[in-house]
């Protein structure tokens, strides 16, 4: 092998060592960050999941009470939600939609369906944010008991 071949061979070896070192450094630093970001991500997911379930339960309780009261079900639903409103940011646009009347109570034989589309809930932690959009349909019987929930 001539001198040029020696040089290329040596550079190749050095290059391999540098790449291996960089890869090791990446593994070590990445694993450390993953613990923290994984926990934060888990909290974000839990919060957005909780917000969605909260909104659904809120609609179930208020819808059930409004149907039991009889009369203007839509108006009663709006009044109940407004009374219980804690203006929590992460519960998204649910209360605003109720206030603006963007929902329907549709009677159908022995059941009444509460339909609300385009609900969004969100969760924030530091600079990370998750938003979840969903449509809600809750079917009540005449006594205001829940028969089915589509979410």
């Amino acid at each position: 092998m001539n001198k040029r071949g020696d040089l290329a061979f040596t550079l190749l070896g050095l290059f391999a060592i540098v790449v291996a070192g960089a890869a090791l450094f990446t593994f070590v630093s990445f694993a450390k960050n993953l613990d923290v970001s994984s926990y934060n991500y888990s909290i974000l997911l839990n919060q957005v999941y909780f917000s969605k379930e909260y909104v659904v339960q809120e609609a179930v309780l208020a819808g059930s009470q409004a149907i039991k009261e009889g009369g203007d079900t839509k108006g009663a639903f709006q009044k109940i939600i407004e009374e219980r409103n804690y203006r929590v940011k992460q519960f998204g646009n649910f209360t605003a939609k109720v206030r603006n009347g963007e929902f329907e109570f549709i009677p159908d034989e022995d059941k009444t369906a509460l339909i609300m589309n385009g609900i969004s809930v969100n969760s924030e932690r530091g600079s990370s944010k998750i938003q979840r959009n969903f449509d809600l349909r809750i079917e009540f019987n005449d006594k205001g008991e829940v028969r089915k929930i589509y979410k």
Binding site: S42, I43, L45, Q47, Y49, F50, Y54, L61, K89
Partner: protein
């Protein structure tokens, strides 16, 4: 390099390539076996908390200003903070909810021996009596005879362990108009 040299180089590179492929295949097989074994032992369940129905969104029956009402657990904490729900009533309502089946419902399947841990930023932990050894350390806290729960007044190492592996659910919400901040952290699941 002449023709013979080039052919020689190509021929010698084959065993090296074959060796590299063999090493990669061995790595994939061994990591696959290791992963399967770890999953069988139940390691790596930190994300299971996401699948569990959030306890804070459950409905409980609690006295609100002396009137028994159906309230979402989260709302009950807000009302407690505003002085509309008594602490003992809240503890009792939470315990009644837990004792409905005294087990954890995961996708319709009831799993026994669960426990719950609920906390506010300034408030105490609430734990079931049978887990008192788990919570009571260094003579912290006291016993509530009404709800039969142990109340512990500071953070506990084992709680931090659950938090460390991402099993504690946490909600930290601000209620702007009332200038309130409500922080509730809890673990609701099987004892590990």
């Amino acid at each position: 390099m002449n023709k013979n040299g080039q052919i020689g180089k190509i021929v010698t590179s084959f065993p090296v390539m074959i060796l590299i492929f063999v090493v990669i295949i061995l790595y994939l097989i061994s990591s696959g076996i290791a992963r399967t074994a770890l999953l069988k032992e139940g390691i790596g369940i930190a994300s299971s908390g996401v699948e569990i129905e959030p306890f804070l969104a459950k409905v409980i029956s609690v006295k609100v200003e002396e009137v028994l009402s159906e309230v979402i657990v989260f709302d009950a904490f807000v009302l407690y903070k505003r002085g509309k729900v008594e602490r003992e009533d809240l503890e009792k309502a939470l315990l009644d909810k837990l004792n409905e089946k005294h087990s954890l419902n995961i996708n319709g399947k009831f799993i026994p021996n669960c426990f719950v841990l609920v906390s506010g930023r300034d408030d105490s932990f609430i734990a079931l009596e049978e887990f008192k050894d788990f919570f009571l350390e260094e003579n912290e806290g006291g016993y509530s005879s009404v709800s039969k729960t142990y109340v512990v007044k500071s953070a506990i190492k084992k709680y931090d362990n659950y938090r460390g592996i991402g099993l504690v659910q946490e909600t930290d919400v601000k209620i702007p108009e009332k200038e309130e901040a409500l922080n509730i952290r809890y673990y609701f699941g099987r004892c590990l």
